[in-house]
């Protein structure tokens, strides 16, 4: 009896593949199927009511869906870029400190200890227009004498959500970039110094290219993970008022569980997946490019 010999890479990858199949792929097939039905949670028999692409057509023709789609892209773009810049700045500042770095690093990661549910409540109360921390502070300092409706105003509501999102997630970038900074080989930096480069030049032309793979890893991970902002947005504004902060996740979550229209929600979900996959592939490409530039194997 000959034993089946699998290539070593497959053996190494097998656990990951099996777990992801069981927990993600199989459920996905189920929900993909249900997106072609009139499936309503409260009526199990509706799972067999095949309605073709009706749900997809309905979503595609719904202006509210596309607004939510656009708003999600906007939020992702702004939040990810700002988080990256702030994270980079933070990491560089922390790496330059000579004493108490251990404490600083822990403090830097402080927001990551907060569950998104908690962050939602926290910022909902901080941005409360009447008795919230921010307005109270601004009024006490005499900077304003009106109650600023942080969570209601068309622009401020998005700002508040993005602020909360950035507050929780900048640490992710900062810590990854910091790890990258530590891993930088010292000789090119030394060489740059000897060659008379200014600190800015050596950062721009030596450090930054080396950090790029780390930045792209962080970007890609965050763009995948950003859907967890759902908890935050759901609690802070639940997409309101008057759909001003409606994102794909709040719309889909409400349709799926509150309205119980799982079929329709899954159809919208699959359109949303395309968005995520686009971001993933985009950052993966960037990552590969950055790596080959550094001469690391693909």
């Amino acid at each position: 009896m000959s034993r089946l010999k699998l290539p070593p890479w497959l053996v190494l990858l097998l656990p990951a593949i099996i777990i992801l199949m069981a927990v993600v792929l199989v459920p996905l097939v189920l929900s993909f199927y249900s997106s072609f039905t009139a499936y309503q949670l409260t009526r199990p028999d509706s799972l067999t009511k095949w309605i073709g692409t009706f749900n997809y057509r309905k979503a595609a023709g719904d202006a509210n869906f596309w607004w939510a789609f656009g708003r999600t892209v906007l939020l992702l773009t702004i939040a990810l870029n700002l988080e990256m810049l702030l994270g980079l700045g933070l990491a560089v500042m922390v790496s330059k400190v000579t004493t108490g770095q251990r404490l600083l690093r822990t403090a830097m990661m402080f927001p990551m200890m907060f569950s998104p549910v908690l962050v939602g409540f926290q910022f909902k109360f901080i941005f409360n227009d009447n008795v919230g921390l921010v307005n109270n502070a601004l009024q006490s300092l005499g900077l304003t004498d009106v109650a600023i409706p942080w969570l209601v105003d068309g622009h401020l509501a998005m700002f508040s959500i993005i602020f909360a999102e950035i507050w929780t997630s900048t640490s992710v970038f900062a810590i990854l970039i910091l790890a990258g900074l530590y891993a930088i080989p010292q000789d090119p930096v030394e060489a740059a110094k000897v060659d008379g480069c200014t600190p800015w030049q050596s950062f721009r032309f030596v450090t930054l290219p080396f950090l790029m793979p780390f930045i792209y890893i962080a970007m890609a991970i965050r763009s995948l993970d950003v859907a967890r902002a759902y908890d935050i947005v759901q609690i802070m504004t639940n997409g309101g008022p008057a759909r001003r902060t409606e994102l794909l996740w709040t719309l889909i979550g409400r349709t799926a569980y509150v309205d119980a229209r799982m079929g329709y929600a899954n159809a919208m979900g699959y359109i949303a997946i395309l968005l995520s996959i686009f971001f993933t592939i985009y950052f993966f490409r960037k990552l590969t490019a950055a790596r080959s530039e550094l001469g690391m194997g693909v």
Binding site: W9, A16, I19, V24, P27, R102, P213, Y230, S276
Partner: protein, 288 residues
Amino acid sequence: MASNAEHRLRKRLLRIAHLTGLFLAMSLICLPGLWIVLNSFRPTVEIMAKPPVWIPNSLNLDHYRAMFGGVGEGGVPVLTYFRNSLIISVTSTLVALLVGMAGGYAFARYRFKGKAALFVGLMATRAVPGVALSLPLFIIMARAGIIDTHFGLILTYVALNVPFTVWLIDGFFRQVPRELAEAAEIDGCTRWQAFWKVEFPVARAGIASAGIFAFLTSWNEYALASQLTRSVNSKTMPVGLLDFTSQFTLNWGGMCALAVLMIIPALVLTFLVQKHLIAGLTFGGVKG
């Protein structure tokens, strides 16, 4: 001389800017969190007051006392939630790290057909919105009888964290020059020994940060946990936070008290583990 003085001045200005920036950033990072900690010690009337009470008149342990109190006195089974959270997070992190190390190593060290596609495919599983996943997952787990168990949630969190650990660890393994391991093999190590003795220590920083991320994701995850847990058998602390809400009321002080209990272990663990990030510092030496 003049340029030297100018240089010193610029250096000093840069230093001041650096410290100010760091101070501002750290304040922004820490203040909202410290506000929660402070709230957990304050009576409700002072938390959201107008005119605001900036300097607390009284700090007490009432919210904590109530939380540990009996049923009907504001008590919440905190210790049970804590135990559930700990078991689930630690186990799922360890498993996700092992699986991620295997996967990351495969991607970093082997060439095979369809590698890029497989990699993106693996990552894309993370892109699936929780909403599209939570119900079918629930149905499957309900049928398998693992709803409201530690096992069900551990399995889910491993799957949640694997793409992420694979990717991160892969990135760090790539930083280890291939020649290093090859040299070790030439010196008579097996591939396995070469991995543990040479590549693993160098990639330790990556593994540590992947571990921190995986742990914190599991520790704080809410959306899936709220679907897959139901009672004290498996409810985790983030789900327990909602015990402080009822249909119309929300006990913010109490919620903050539980939040503090959630944050402390995570903070301590992070503080302990993050020192391994320094291991990455040795990398420069290795290469040089």
